[in-house]
Symmetry: C2
Subunit: 160 residues, 2 copies
């Protein structure tokens, strides 16, 4: 990962994509969000969604997993180049999380994140804070998920 000082506002990262299968939609929802339209095809058909669709929390946590994997690849690449690797995370929170469209069975969601703000922490001047705007877009080009998250990022060590 880059140090806080290397972050460029406006930079965009392709986080990864994921196809939501019926089995995993139902397994996630059975554990964490057992509303009828997330766990049962026939109940979903008679709901306003019209078909089985993923819990909104599910489409959000898949972003988290893909982001952790993407960061891991970036860190490995930096290490391979002999570059220092800055510490990152955890997140402080999320704002403006919107579930804009349902994620139906076999939909493929392509996630991306764009840096929208970088600032030094007021309470901890030794750390930077980065806010990113993340989206998930389905195979029809529709945005299904949008949110902003803020994460700690290590500042570059001062060279005396």
């Amino acid at each position: 990962m880059k140090y806080f000082e290397d972050i460029v506002v406006g930079e965009r990262v392709a986080v990864g994509s994921h196809t939501f299968k019926a089995d995993e939609i139902k397994a996630f929802a059975a554990r964490f969000d057992p509303q009828p339209f997330h766990v049962d095809e026939s109940a979903a058909e008679s709901s306003h969604f019209g078909a089985l669709c993923a819990s909104g929390w599910h489409s959000a946590v898949v972003w988290m997993r893909l982001m952790v994997d993407a960061r891991h690849r970036m860190m490995e690449a930096a290490r391979a180049r002999g570059e220092p690797v800055a510490a990152m995370g955890p997140a402080l929170g999320i704002r403006e999380l919107k579930w804009l469209k349902p994620v139906y069975v076999d939909d493929t969601i392509d996630y991306a994140s764009e840096v929208i703000e970088a600032r030094v922490s007021e309470s901890r001047p030794g750390v930077g804070l980065m806010s990113i705007h993340s989206t998930g877009i389905n195979q029809h080009g529709e945005t299904v998920l949008s949110f902003i998250s803020t994460t700690f990022v290590e500042r570059r060590p001062v060279t005396p």
Copy 2:
């Protein structure tokens, strides 16, 4: 569930509580948030958290599960009293989600939700929108999680 017209702003619901065990913390994180401090005790000890702690997404989705269960109990109770049951959900989104404190192994989080706003949808006057402020509080009385969510609630059918 109550119809939109029966919602009282300021009303508080005890959603339920959950004790986070090491095995489930690691299983959730291995699938959705495999950062070292969520999946590995020794890596967590050398992190700034000092010990294994749950993914913030995990503490949020446990609220969702307990809320679905709580709604189900309220619906069953209404049916048992012979009262009509209004349709509810899904959620439109989340705002101001804050992970304020870590959730460590064996912490018990008590979740509650308070109605903070009720308004008729501008785009769909037939439905109401309810915003609730939800919190998770640990056994030391510390708030670990806080967020606001907005959900569709059915309006009372007009009697001619």
